[in-house]
Each structure stands twice: as C-alpha cells, then as structure tokens.
Symmetry: C2
Subunit: 397 residues, 2 copies
C-alpha cells in the first residue's frame, strides 16, 4: 500500500509533505530522561541528553548524543540547541532566563521558559492557579519567622513552610506545628538560599495525581486519576485508577486540564491533588514534566506518559490515554544504603506473575534514592498492589 504512485511523486495517499522534527534534546540525565529517551527512540527520533555529570546519569547510556556540563551555561545550551529542533527537560530547575534567551534565538523550548518560570517558583505557581480561579490551599510569602506568626493567625497552625524554589520529594518542605517552632524551621529552610512561603495545613484523606499532556496546537489528553501513597514525603505506591467516585475522577480531570491552560503548559504535567473529607479537591503542586505518579502508564495505558510527552513537545498528535487493563499499581524501588548499587533479588521478583520490573541503571545507591520501580497490571488495584509490593520486597538496589 505504500507503493502506490500518486500525482505528488512517490508519496502514498494520506502522506503529508512536511517531515516532522527528528532531534530532541533532554536537559537532565536521570530516569525520567531515560524513559523519555526510550519513547523518543521508538518514534524514530534521535535523542540528545544533557547531564550535569558523566557518572551515574543513566539516560546518557541510551542517547544518540550526550553533553556533560552545567545546563544553565548559555554556551552549552546554545550547542545543544544547534543540534536539536526541540529542547525539553526532566527537571524544572533550569534557569528560566537562560531558556528565554534560547527562545529569543528561535529554539523550541517545551515547556516554554514562561511556563517554567511560573512553575519553578511555588509562590508564582500558586498565584497563577489562584488567578485562574483554581482551588489551592491558602498561602502567603514570608520573609521572616515574624511573618509566619501573622500568617499563622489567619491560616491557623500547623503551617506548611516551603522553599519557593528547588524543592522535590519533600526536600524543602517543613511542617511547623506551632508558633514556637517557626524560628527554627525558617532558619533551617532559608539556609539554602531560597525565599520561603507558607501554606495552610490541609488535613486530606488521600493524595491523588493526574497526568495531563498538551501540545502546542492546544490538543489535550488526560490520564485516569491515580491515588499516590507517600512514605516520608516520597511517592511510594500509585494505584490506577484511584479508588474514588466518578464525580471526583471527573473533577480531577477538569482541574488538570484547567491547570495546563492556566500556565500555557506544553508537554506532560503531573498535577498533585489533595482529596478533602468533604470530597472536594485542592491542587497541591505541579511538575512540568513526566512524573513518578505516571510510570504506571508504560504498561497500563495505550500510550505512555513518556510517549505523550515526546508527542506533545514535538508538536505531534497526542495518543490515547485510556487504560489497557482494569487496574495497575506501581511501587518505587528505593535505595537502602550508601554505596555501589548491586541489584539483588531480581530472580525472586521476576517470579511474581505479571511484575514489570524497571531498574534505572544507577551505579550508586543511597537511602531513599529512586533506583527503579515495579508495575503490575491486574483486574483490581488490590490485586495489582499486592503483587507489586510482593515483587518490590524481593529487590535490593
């Protein structure tokens, strides 16, 4: 069927004239970049990876081209942008001013420098959401422990104190239970140089997350909302779909889509939500990139979050986000000690029927470091979680 001659030459029917861009560069060399690279390769693209260090950047092992260095250096980024048609990232902490400079020179940076500038500062992120009429916890900028006292009189205690920039996986957050603890917490978090903000403490009943993709043409695709179970502020287990009412699921999707429009997001975004006791949802935080809570999509959905991220940033149509299976569960594999990572227990883990084990190929382990994950598809989230935990328990990294 691709052999038919048409008036335009050797092109078959339905074939458009413009070849798509073929080179994508990813800022970051970790597992998110690695899984994004795998999806990009599958679509026939060439993949460049920009990693801060040569050692232990697992994405560099499967890249067409690798750059090692500080990705906030204009020289490095210019070199990258000369090679790639599209630049994306696995990490939101890239200097947005440098990205804006690239854009001024005509490079497609996706998500855009504007979106990243808004999202990477949690204060401006929340302001943008509130301005769009979206439900967020009450918040305020604070410049001193004294500011915390006055905000605390309005929002009540405990307060959640947050670094506005650079926080992830709970690093940069501090729960302040009472006014007497404010000074120490402020001192601790401001030591790293970031400005701080506080949010009201939300007594949620569950944490949910939804992945939503959007391409430059404005096409959107939302995945089923999931429940994320955190241990020690890190995403530990993800249940898909979240065991919530259809009304809650629909509301989560509505919020997710509205968030991307509010910040003009292009690419895939992870939106973390609090489920309140009365069934309402509040938006907790955003990640402008593939997200741990979307790893289940590799096996469980018609199109993975990584492929939809690549499609979105390349300006391609988005793929079907529906689930192939009734349910899925994902469990993170975390490092347990400092030192060289020697995977053990794979033999036992792979005996668990249906366990899809992902090992990121990091050479060094440390307590809590994300070293891999396990996904299981099953007929129910209960069965999927049980099997995923069973397999994960066998593995030491």
């Amino acid at each position: 069927m691709r052999r038919g001659q048409t008036p335009t030459g050797n092109l078959p029917r339905n074939v458009t004239e413009d070849p798509v861009p073929t080179r994508i560069a990813i800022l970051g060399g970790g597992q998110l970049a690695r899984m994004t690279a795998a999806a990009a390769f599958r679509l026939g693209l060439e993949v460049g990876v920009v990693a801060r260090q040569a050692e232990d950047s697992p994405a560099t092992l499967m890249a067409t081209r690798t750059w090692i260095g500080d990705w906030s250096t204009p020289e490095l980024l210019t070199d990258v942008a000369t090679w790639a048609q599209v630049v994306t990232l696995e990490n939101e902490f890239v200097d947005a001013r440098v990205l804006a400079e690239l854009e001024r020179r005509g490079v497609s940076v996706r998500p855009s420098a504007h979106t990243l500038a808004t999202v990477q500062d949690k204060l401006t992120q929340k302001e943008a959401l509130r301005k769009a009429g979206l439900p967020v916890p009450r918040f305020a900028a604070v410049e001193s422990a004294a500011d915390m006292f006055s905000v605390g009189r309005e929002l009540g205690w405990p307060l959640m104190l947050k670094a506005r920039r650079g926080g992830y996986d709970g690093y940069g957050n501090e729960l302040v239970r009472k006014p007497e603890d404010a000074a120490a917490a402020f001192e601790k978090l401001s030591r790293k140089g970031s400005e701080l903000m506080v949010e009201e403490f939300i007594p949620f009943t569950a944490e949910l997350a939804i992945m939503v993709a959007r391409n430059p043409q404005g096409e959107e695709a939302a995945y089923p909302v999931v429940e994320t179970v955190q241990h020690a502020h890190m995403c530990h287990t993800v249940l898909a779909p979240a065991p919530v009412s259809a009304r809650t699921a629909a509301r989560a999707e509505e919020l997710g889509r509205a968030v991307l429009r509010a910040i003009e997001g292009v690419g895939i975004f992870g939106i973390e939500l609090f489920l309140l006791t009365d069934g309402d949802l509040l938006i907790n935080e955003l990640a402008p990139r593939p997200h741990n809570s979307g790893h289940f999509t590799i096996e469980a959905c018609m199109t993975s979050q990584f492929e939809n991220h690549v499609r979105a940033v390349m300006g391609l149509p988005l793929g079907d986000t529906s689930m192939r299976t009734a349910a899925a569960a994902m469990v993170n594999l975390l490092g347990s000690q400092d030192g060289e990572s020697v995977p053990r227990g794979m033999d036992e883990a792979l005996k668990v029927r249906g366990a899809n084990v992902h090992i990121y190929g990091k050479h060094r382990s440390r307590p809590g470091r994300k070293m891999g994950h396990v996904t299981v598809c099953a007929d129910s989230v209960v069965e999927a979680r049980e099997k995923a935990l069973q397999a994960a328990r066998c593995i030491s990294l």
Copy 2:
C-alpha cells in the same frame, strides 16, 4: 520495607545472595537488537551491540558499548565475550563454529552454538524436528536438478526449493512449479554458494506463528498463537490471537514447546506453522531469536518477547505471556524506494486512536526494507487490524 535489618546484614528478606549477570552483548545491530536492548536496559542491564557496520545499525544508538566489525572474527568475539557475561544474537547466521569456540572458553552463548548449528541449516533443522516426531513437510537434500526430478516423483509438483543456509524473508526460496523449471531454479539458488534442499508444496489455509521462550533451567513460556499474513514472502500483518479454534491454538502451543525441547533452545524462538485445510498443523520454519510475528507483545502482552528473551538468556525467571488486551494487530512499515529515509505522515498516523508507532531509526530506505511497525490493541482483531492498517497507510519511510 527495604530498610529492615536481617541476620545476613543489610539484605532484606527474600533477597538472594547472588547478583545476576549485568552485561549482555547482542550480535547484530538492527531493529531486533534495538528492541532487545530496550528491554535489557529496562531490567537494569548494560548492553553491548556488535554491528557489522557503523552506518545504519539502529541498535548502536542505544548501547552501553558498541563493536563494529565482522562478528565471525574470533578476535572480535573474544573481546565481546570478555566484556559480557552473556552473548546472544538477533540473527541466526553467525558461524556456529566460532560460537562453539567461545563456549569452550567458558562464555555463555545463548542460544547455544549447538542449537544454532542445528537451526541455521534448514536441512538439519528439519531433520531434528522429524527425529523428535514433530510434523514437518516432507523434504530432501538435493545436489542437482536431476535430484529434484527424482524427489519430485515422490513428493509431487510444485516443489519448494530452498537454500539450506542464509535465507530469510523469502530470499533463498524458490517455488518450482514443474520439472522443466527445475534446472533454472537450481542454478539461480545455488549461485550464492549454499547447498540446497526441497520440500513438498503445502497448500495451507493460513500461516500461524508462535513465540516460545525457554531458560537454561528448562522453564518455558508460550505466547498466544498468531496469524501472520505475508505479502511477497514478508511478514506484513500479524493478528493476535489467531482467529483459530481453541484446539488449534492448543496444538500450536504444544508444537512450539516441543520444538524448543527438541533443539534444546534457550532464549525466545519464533515457530512458523502452516494450518492445513483439515485443521492439522505443520512446522514450517524456526527463528532462534525475537521474531517479527512477536512484535505485538510489546504492547499487548504482560511481558514482551524481547524482555522474555533477555530473561531467558540471562537465566532469569520468565514473565507472564498472557495478553493485556482482548486483541492486537501489527502491521509492518516497509521502505518503498532507495535512498535516505525521511519519515513522513507521522502526524496523520498518530491521530489514529490507539496506534503505537515504532520507527526503527534506519537512515537508508529501500523497497521492502523493514523500517518500522504499527501495533494497535483493541477489543477484536478486526478492529485492531483496521486501525493498524489505517495508521500504517499514512506513513512513508
């Protein structure tokens, strides 16, 4: 849970003491090696790729280590074997004597040199199957056109004349309709230097295929049998599961498993079958490696053929081969002309809901070259095929 201390030190419960081998080398740099590499990376392995040429060997783009050269050279293979704990292949035409030499030096070659020696010569392959009591078309070695006449008196005409070595995708096969055509066909096929054989012509109603994996411990895993629809001797469309009776499907699985035992196969094998008008099955040919008819398993099965190949050759437990979805269809994307490959039509193809498009990243196209494939999962093979063809029709490579 991975933090618990046990009497053996820092190992969690259930963790075995022996780390698994971590380095696999693949002989061959094409799409089968590339998709095998992707599966190996996901399991946290390091992947070496041995390609005949640097140009247009798409697997080399995502390898930890690459060797370019003739993989029948003992020096090259020794270097590879020094790096890797396990050596496997995407192509059965590696000199089995060289592999046997590697084995004598203690390298794990999987499948083994013995298995490859048996399979890579279609005559010894068929003899091994017949000796194991498995149903194959009647066949005979021929050393001249005169031999063909005498065999033809017994097996009837037409006859299928085959090069014993080096044939694939119909190259090396010649249908000889009548005795008068024997001399020309013999001359044509023997020109390439291979010895020849003939087989009786089988008037099949359908071609089926089954992928079966087996590890060194003897564990086996069979995928659902599929129907393969060939155009011009090449696998064009695969329907999973094959629309055949449960009895036929069970017989196909029985034959597939028996084949691997007969040849002591380790790794994944593609077994091509003829479905006869009376419902019986005959074994057509074997491929001692991942196979085009198994590409659907990437999306449609709990564990892909590539991951099960890696698990098998690494001596790991095999994964669940059952389908995640009711049905799937795979359509190959073939080159249509000589020259540089410029993917066109991705934009239209990706609009087809549920289309998973794989582009192999080959830079040069030629008519009939396998450049990619499309898989669609759906509720029925009819729907899956329709969508896969719809997406494939859009793409030109």
